[in-house]
Symmetry: D2
Subunit: 351 residues, 4 copies
């Protein structure tokens, strides 16, 4: 059992973290807050629990710990999971790494720095080797990042296509759930019965992170994937689950059935055989029904860790492949991915 401090434990993503780590076979979570007024309160009293999973019995009784290097050391924490806002993470996470903590972070800061592994385990677990490069920073610990929510979902579906057919160009339009904005991120009056065709910084994240994740680790550096990802990201009035409309121009011609087979079989799944507790049995599930996936029906697949894909088809004029992908934005796209990365780190003896 490893003790893990969860920074930002009462937020929307923090709630998923606590639910997934509570009774985890390998980890024991310690909820940490950066809000002084919450320190010392029972987790169940301090949190406004709004996620669809019921709060597990007993979790609410934990006491919220204050953030601080000395506190973390006194708590006997083995590593740190960060659900901090990016602005805070920018300062806090390197400081922790410097002091010797392993940090698995969901924050967007530093994701593109060359020596920071950006990991979606089934896709690029091997990039974890980038950690060796962080020694140059003089850190005794390290930082690993998980991708942006949309990128997490997208890359799981692009990887098998890349491996089997090659990819020349991708255009993706997202229909993202409101939970992706966090607890306070989106006033109800803005999104009720509406679409907001803008999510700050999101399109750049999808473009850049996808190329890094699907790139190749060569001599301590990631050589980015050679194709472009054009993104248009939108908020829709759905609670959980990002739906992606994906257009892919493949290098080699691909029939829809072949694409579906590649997605189902997921060759080169980089964590096969590792028996990580949070790894879904099926990372990508392909549905045959003509009108699926749908967030309300499919977001819970694989306890939120499976990406569902449907409507795999071919544009009759151009031969581009089109499909729809759906994933749970705060599980597969955030907390779940970070827990899976933590499991990977433990398996590799890094925590």
């Amino acid at each position: 059992m490893r003790r893990v401090a969860v920074l930002g434990s009462t937020g929307l993503v923090g709630q998923r973290f606590m639910a997934m780590l509570w009774k985890h076979p390998w980890f024991e979570p310690v909820p940490v807050t950066l809000s002084p007024e919450k320190v010392g309160r029972r987790y169940g009293q301090a949190v406004d629990w709004v996620i669809d999973w019921a709060m597990p019995d007993g979790l609410g009784e934990l006491a919220l710990e204050a953030f601080g290097l000395s506190t973390l050391m006194e708590l006997g924490v083995d590593f740190v999971i960060s659900a901090l806002p990016s602005s805070v993470a920018t300062e806090v996470e390197p400081a922790l790494a410097k002091e010797g903590f392993a940090v698995v972070s969901n924050a967007s800061s530093m994701r593109l720095e060359p020596d920071i592994p950006l990991i979606n385990p089934e896709v690029n677990a091997s990039h974890i080797d980038l950690l060796k490069e962080q020694a140059r920073r003089g850190w005794r610990g390290f930082i690993v990042k998980v991708p942006n929510c949309t990128t997490s979902i997208l890359t799981l579906t692009l990887k098998p296509i890349q491996d089997v057919f090659g990819i020349e160009l991708v255009a993706v339009t997202s229909m993202q759930a409101i939970s992706g904005a966090g607890y306070h991120g989106l006033p109800a009056v803005k999104i009720a019965g509406n679409v907001i065709p803008y999510i700050k910084g999101e399109e750049d994240k999808v473009r850049e992170e996808t190329k890094k994740i699907l790139g190749t680790l060569v001599e301590g550096r990631v050589r980015k994937a050679g194709f472009s990802v054009m993104a248009s990201t939108n908020r829709v009035p759905v609670l959980d689950g990002h739906t992606l409309s994906v257009f892919v121009k493949t290098v080699r011609p691909a029939e829809p059935e072949d694409i579906a087979t590649a997605l189902r079989e997921f060759p080169n799944n980089e964590i096969v055989g590792m028996n990580l507790p949070t790894a879904p049995r099926v990372p990508v599930k392909v549905l045959d029904a003509v009108d699926r996936p749908q967030p309300r029906l499919d977001v819970g697949a694989g306890n939120g860790m499976t990406v569902t894909v449907g409507r795999v088809r071919r544009d009759p004029d151009t031969g581009w492949v089109k499909y729809v992908a759906l994933g749970h934005n705060t599980v597969r796209g955030a907390a779940g991915n970070a827990v899976l990365v933590s499991e990977l780190l433990l398996r590799k003896g890094l925590i």
Copy 2:
């Protein structure tokens, strides 16, 4: 004043038709129903009015007329507007045309037949000349079609780009409103808090209709536009207003500001100067705000006849243009377009 029979006058699109034609300066509507049990009832009693425009005073007092050739003749109807379901329209509309009625139709049947004009007035009013070709059918009247809702909105934004920069390829993902499915088309339990990534037949309509509308009329035939339109169409929980995420590969490089200018100026607007009562002052309105257009805020632009565009930008890797377009699906995308076509026909002396 021309008397116009509105077929399917109590449906969702029919309600828009009646509201737009009531007190119209040129037309006087006669509501017609194909449901025997509604015949003779007051319009206001027989309709379940659900659109956001309040029912105009007096409209509710009209009596619903039965459908039938002899009835239409007795009613002294000058032409017919059809909001019939496609399956019914397939038989009814040609029969009416044969008997001498001009039919302006929103139904999807026959839209792609070579001698049927498919008109989005600002874009291709000149295609109305195709009507001459219908003489060969032995009809004394004729049929004009308006495009599919999504295509109506899309083509208004593609036309200026095509004219100024040329288009090589288009990828569009739609987020379509529930009113597009009609009154009975979508059970509440299916779409509440959900996205349904499938609308039957819609992607083919967008692909084929766009190429016809943006084609060139040459010697009695439409030479289709030479580019492809890859579409992915989705239903989202929004009441009115289809939002389109559009990616365009232009022939000549285009800066976002140039695209915006072309959309604002709309060169080659084919109805400029005709003073058609329903024509919006601005067919395409470009918004500067980073998070617009939004259906709830912008769907009413130009009384529902203006398409709003925002987020005109350029993909940094590929140079493709990206933008978001929004239009009112049952006004610009259906009833409003058909009324505008009717006005065009009257101006041209065809009704």
Copy 3:
């Protein structure tokens, strides 16, 4: 194991029935359809599964059976569960009872007839003795009814209050979920972002059924409860879960804590100790948080069989008790209640 035919198995309530009966320890379900075009198809192919529970593995493989007396007999069915619309149930259910079938029905027809038990098990399981009276009808089988959805939820909360404090008058306003209207019952365009303050027949059902359920069985007749129930029923844009705002004038003065205690302890729970598989451990759960229950957070309590209550308070001017109750309308309020009644019947040796 008893074989049970589920009539109306593909509807919204039918889906709940099939999910609850599949792998049930005592029952084995046979899905029956009254739609000729569905007969013989696989259940998974014929149903448009829209409920939040994932379809259990294997269920989709069952073949849909045709309805008919001879078919039911050939199928070796032990009893029948009916999720038929009331209009159909009126004829079908008595015919089945006449032929010797035990019928547990969710349809509203006949609920108020004096010899038909209307059962909410924890509240009035003893009313099952009314079945003896049905012999006079010349039936070889019998009919048992479960209450209207709102009434099921309401009576679970009124029973402990009635027993401990007495009730003089009740005023209840419901905020009912869209799933209560069935699969086709409510077009999306009507309820999106809206409240519909009318549900046909519902207020009378709540008023009459509550008095029957909370009445006393005396010499083969139910003596109705002596208080009135004033109801106002509304549809709100919530998927599952009816929320009730309840005002109760008690006979004896009641402090909120005493009411809460009575609800928690549920004295005179009529099925305590029977170990019915579907009976929730806690029929009424009282929440302390000031803003609960909420349908999205609490509808799943006790797998949908527990009613949650919150905001138990006292009007400072009048002493009336006020509280909010929430229950799952298609589980506790329909299918779950009927399964629980079936279990009760088996325990009593009646099926």
Copy 4:
């Protein structure tokens, strides 16, 4: 023309104020902000306009003024309208009154103080005489309050019933729109597809304010109405429009038609004949349709100033009257009411 400073002009209610006062025949609005970073910016740039009325042309060009006594004097303001949060209003408003400003306020603070008129114009315009009592405070100006949103709607419907039949007891359950929580008041993740059965302080406001408004002004004091109002207040996922389910025990027996007539005729409407520009032609509109009013269809009645009522019926057991009332919470329930009160003050020569 009077110049009026609007405090809190960029909030949700502030947006309604600015839209209603812009081009008002009697008033000219000056937008004021208490946020230092907004001072000097164009209104259209500083506001996040989210209400359903389009921003009137020209309004966006106004410059936002800083708050301060000296600033208000320099601006030549004749009176002040306050859309401030209650916590801020508590200090600011009395200070303004002391300095000689007339303050018409939507804030909840001080509404129940004996010398503060709480005015819903059609109901109790005469209570404006309470202003004389404020002289004792040593103020050169004065404060007038408008009621809580729900109370504004409720009292318009209770007044005619009180006048014609007398009222003994009221029970009301509200289904309140999300715009009632203000721009930042309600995170989207909390209310999506949900009901929240709690609005802080609301039930007490409805109870106390109703009795004050429907009370009688006698010798400089309001003698409160002699009946109780039991309230249960809920938030539902509707954008605009509070729907109230009302149960009334009248003193004299009342048939539904008589209640409807009283509501339609509104005897003792206290502003009849005053020709106030914002007064609706019909303060209470009674609808016959069985399923109305509905917020989406009826919230705009009388430009948001008319309360619509439907389903007027009688409980068969008790004789209590039941009905449903709907009003626009930020127009009739806030900004519109305050503008109407301002017009009343001008007519009475008080500003």
